[in-house]
């Protein structure tokens, strides 16, 4: 099956704004390895990135980083 009918949907899909049926169509099409749609998904990812940067940066509380590194360190600590 061709993918012309999916041409304008990749960005909406990544944004989660498609209907379940259209999302399923696109997922199944991608799973078949369409190189054109793979390139379009990469392009759509760039666009979601661009749109996501429309918000101002904000500095999280230092506690968040400390907790994150603490959790990760525990995961990597040698046992015994």
């Amino acid at each position: 099956m061709g993918c012309q009918h999916l041409e304008e949907l990749h960005e909406l899909w990544l944004l989660g704004a498609l209907s379940e049926q259209s999302s399923r169509d696109l997922r199944e099409h991608l799973a078949r390895g369409c190189p054109h749609c793979l390139a379009r998904v990469r392009e759509a990812t760039e666009m979601v990135y661009l749109l996501g940067l429309g918000s101002k940066p904000a500095r999280p509380h230092p506690r968040v980083k400390a907790q994150l590194l603490n959790k990760v360190s525990h995961k990597t600590a040698p046992h015994g």
Partner: protein, 236 residues
């Protein structure tokens, strides 16, 4: 003068269990990621949890990401947005593709749906810089998404993201040229995780008109990005 390491070098170090490399990636990108999350989620507590969740996933998926060579900052931003939107919808953590809304009947029946409709454009307007306008959705109204690992092959290359970063002001200036209804529809989709149908409800517009606004906005931004970043394709 020391030169800043490319993020992908840090990712490679992190993939080899280098905790300090994760810390450097966090220092560099957490403000960008947290800024996005706080625009989506109503409380700092929820935003901090999602921020931490995203970086923990980066830690656990770092190896596959580094092998594919995709942009780590693109992964962070796209994953953070999807995780925050899923949290907003009351969904459990799923993956970097925000789940499509699947049960429209429940949306209409949601306790605050009629109030949102009545507020219409005013409610949309309040989204800008005021994430508290977006209330978390009740979990009972949402379907549990399947786990959706984001294939690293879907990520753009670092050089493509660098191109966007270099021309970000120009690109955002172009986005600001969108007609107001399209801009509102796009904001609701990006920062509210709303579907076309929900956007229609929130803006007090017919479904078809809202969907057309959203699609037009997406097409406009896509073509502007192609023009500004020099990747204009023939299929326009």
């Amino acid at each position: 003068m020391s030169k800043e390491l490319p993020p992908e070098d840090l990712l490679n170090r992190m993939a080899r269990q280098d905790v300090a490399a994760l810390g450097e990636l966090y220092d560099r990108y957490a403000p960008r990621v947290y800024g996005l999350i706080t625009r989506i989620l109503p409380t700092p507590e929820a935003a901090e949890e999602v921020l931490q969740e995203v970086f923990l996933r980066l830690w656990s998926e770092g190896r596959s990401l580094s092998q594919e060579g995709g942009s780590v900052v693109a992964w962070l931003v796209v994953s953070a947005r999807a995780a925050a939107v899923d949290r907003l919808r009351g969904l459990p953590p799923g993956g970097p593709i925000a789940s499509p809304r699947v049960d429209k009947a429940r949306i209409v029946k949601a306790p605050d749906a009629s109030a949102r409709k009545a507020k219409g454009a005013a409610a949309v307007k309040s989204l800008e810089g005021k994430p508290e306008a977006l209330k978390p959705r009740p979990a009972e109204g949402a379907a549990t998404p399947a786990k959706r690992p984001f294939p690293p092959a879907w990520l753009p290359l670092p050089k493509e993201i660098t191109l966007i970063d270099d021309r970000l002001m120009l690109l955002h200036k172009a986005i600001n040229q969108l007609p107001e209804p399209q801009r509102q529809a796009l904001d609701l989709a990006v920062y509210g995780g709303r579907s076309g149908a929900e956007i229609g409800t929130e803006m007090g517009e017919p479904l078809g008109k809202a969907q057309r606004s959203l699609r037009a906005a997406v097409t406009f931004v896509k073509h502007r990005r192609r023009a500004v970043c020099g990747t204009w394709a023939a299929n326009i």
